[in-house]
Symmetry: C2
DNA sequence: GTTAGTGCAAACCTTTTGCAGCTCT
DNA sequence: AGAGCTGCAAAAGGTTTGCACTAAC
């Protein structure tokens, strides 16, 4: 549970642990997923119907500024909103399938090596780093090949494991004309 | 000049090379910098006062979708807008100083290695990749150290080379209260 | 001449702000 | 008690859309 250490860190900085923040902290911590502000808000509302969207934004900013969570874009797969994750884990890259929205995380030596090289090459002090990769997952490559060959409508039959982002939000639903 | 190959690519797809697009293509190509839509628009307006901001967005989307330019966030240093660069160059990471806005580019083996590992580890087909790193450049580390030690107002005397983003846009200028 | 592209205005999504009242410590 | 937080409403930044007109091929 990272929320314990987050709580500690906040307390040290004299930040108040309000009911709203506890709810949000718990949600961010428990969900292994990458949540955006709106989703987090919807989840939080289930526990406190009065909790305001603005409080979500303010809390996220607080945690981000404090270096307790990282902000991601996930290649804007879902739109222009940001996603968040706790910073407990080791640095990792995010791999997003642009067809099905599946998100994988890649840990490993190459990332560390890259970081070290940047630090030494520029004498740079790294505070934040993020690597995002977009493309097609193994499963969707096959699907796409089939689609192209057959050019027909066939059922999907996904082999889903791990997190998958919701389909990109439909934008601009206007009044019909 | 990458604009030549961009033009070719567009022509192949039956995309019309309008006056507006030529202006924008030239600007994107010639500026070695990372431009955002608004800056690009301001520059374009100098050549064609009638050119509309919307055309800038539509052209950027066209180029992005066609894989001719890459979209960056540069760690949201300047705000939530996106930055663009032609895709001519080899893959590289962007290193952004969060204090002075200087942007450096890092080329090298570690990035290639990372890409190959991701491809083979997940059987992933990479279409886009981006690595952004935020922190303090060598120069600003020194500045910060001085600031902290002295806690005084002293002139800056920057040692600037390479691109530096404009200071973050002041947000929310409202009517005074 | 066709069809894609443009300009304009307006809308839309996401995020931030001012302010008054509420609540942690 | 009082600084910090919250909710509310409203606004702002960045981007996209509908539509009628224009221009590239």
């Amino acid at each position: 549970m990272a929320s314990a250490s987050i709580r500690g860190s906040l307390k040290e900085r004299g930040v108040r642990l309000t009911r709203q923040r506890q709810i949000l902290l718990d949600l961010i911590d428990k969900s292994g997923k990458h949540l955006d502000a709106e989703t987090l808000f919807q989840l939080a509302k289930q526990q406190d119907a009065k909790l305001n969207r603005v409080t979500v934004y303010r809390t996220l900013k607080l945690l981000k500024t404090g270096g307790l969570i990282d902000e991601l874009d996930l290649m804007h797969y879902g739109g222009d909103q940001h996603y968040y994750e706790t910073r407990m884990k080791q640095e990792h890259a995010h791999i997003i399938c642009l067809r099905c929205g599946k998100v994988e995380e890649f840990f490993g030596e190459p990332l560390m090596r890259l970081r070290r090289q940047i630090e030494s090459h520029f004498g740079f002090e790294i505070l934040l780093a993020r690597t995002e990769v977009g493309g097609y997952c193994a499963n969707c490559q096959a699907q796409r090949a089939r689609e192209v060959e057959e050019a027909r409508g066939l059922a999907d039959g996904r082999v889903d494991e791990g997190e998958t982002l919701p389909a990109p939000r439909a934008k601009r639903r206007r009044k019909q004309t």
